[in-house]
């Protein structure tokens, strides 16, 4: 049984909605409660919108993971955009790049259980976020 999805390319705005609703379906399949399904969907929406706004193009991979006996969801958001110059700053609440949009990344970290980010100007940004049942 393989619930894992193919990476979802984020190139158009509509892809944000596709990634968000697929995250919800997968979270439900894993057995997350409604509130947690929504939290995962919101995290995916933030990450996909970040790609769309800042990198213009990237992909979101959502998969079911198992850590020992614990099941969960892993979201990988990857883009080849300009990268985040100051990750610490981007992880600060209410930090905005000037167009009124915050990065939403601290929010994603709180919505999920585990959060990793790496970014550089050559390889773009990669965020891995996990939530366990």
């Amino acid at each position: 049984m393989n619930h894992n999805l193919q990476p979802i390319n984020i190139t158009h705005e509509v892809d944000i909605a596709i990634a968000t609703s697929e995250a919800r379906v997968l979270a439900e399949a894993v057995g997350f409660k409604q509130a947690e399904q929504y939290m995962i969907a919101t995290a995916v929406s933030e990450l996909a919108r970040n790609i769309f706004h800042y990198a213009k193009e990237g992909k979101i991979t959502i998969k079911i993971i198992e850590k020992g006996t614990q099941k969960g969801i892993e979201i990988i958001a990857q883009d080849n955009g300009p990268g985040i110059e100051d990750i610490d700053k981007a992880m600060t609440d209410h930090f905005s790049t000037g167009d009124g949009l915050g990065s939403g990344l601290p929010g994603v970290k709180r919505l999920m259980d585990e959060f990793e980010i790496s970014s550089d100007s050559r390889q773009g940004t990669k965020v891995i976020a996990r939530k366990l049942l």
Partner: protein, 152 residues
Amino acid sequence: MKGKNYLSKVVMNIIQGCLVVPIHGELYDESVLQIQRDVLEKIKNTGIKKVIIDLSGANVIDSFLGQVISDTVKMASMLGATTVLTGFKPEVVVSLIDLDFDFGDIQTAITLEDGFHKLQSRLTDEEIEDADDETTEAIEELEEPEEEEDES
């Protein structure tokens, strides 16, 4: 802009003197901003003073959508209209807190009906002024006969 065809037009109705704006389904940058423009335009054209933005049908409220809604409420207020947000679900509220989203002193209600009550019970500035005048008159009326009674 690509994919304009997926933009859904929100149908806004004026019910009991309130502009009701239902937000549903998936929302895109452009459609959210279009809703914002439409609401402000409607307030300007109709002079309506009460707005309800109903979020019960929204799939996901992320920080972008939250920001646009919050901005819309502030802009409506500058145009003299009071807005109540309705239709928050528990999971939405939990996620908004995690996103560190602050709706500040924006008024909210759980159901559309509660939203109506909140707006109907809330008086507009003009009504408050009228009410103040009436109260003053009533107090004067009350005071006068009392004085007469005292004299007798």
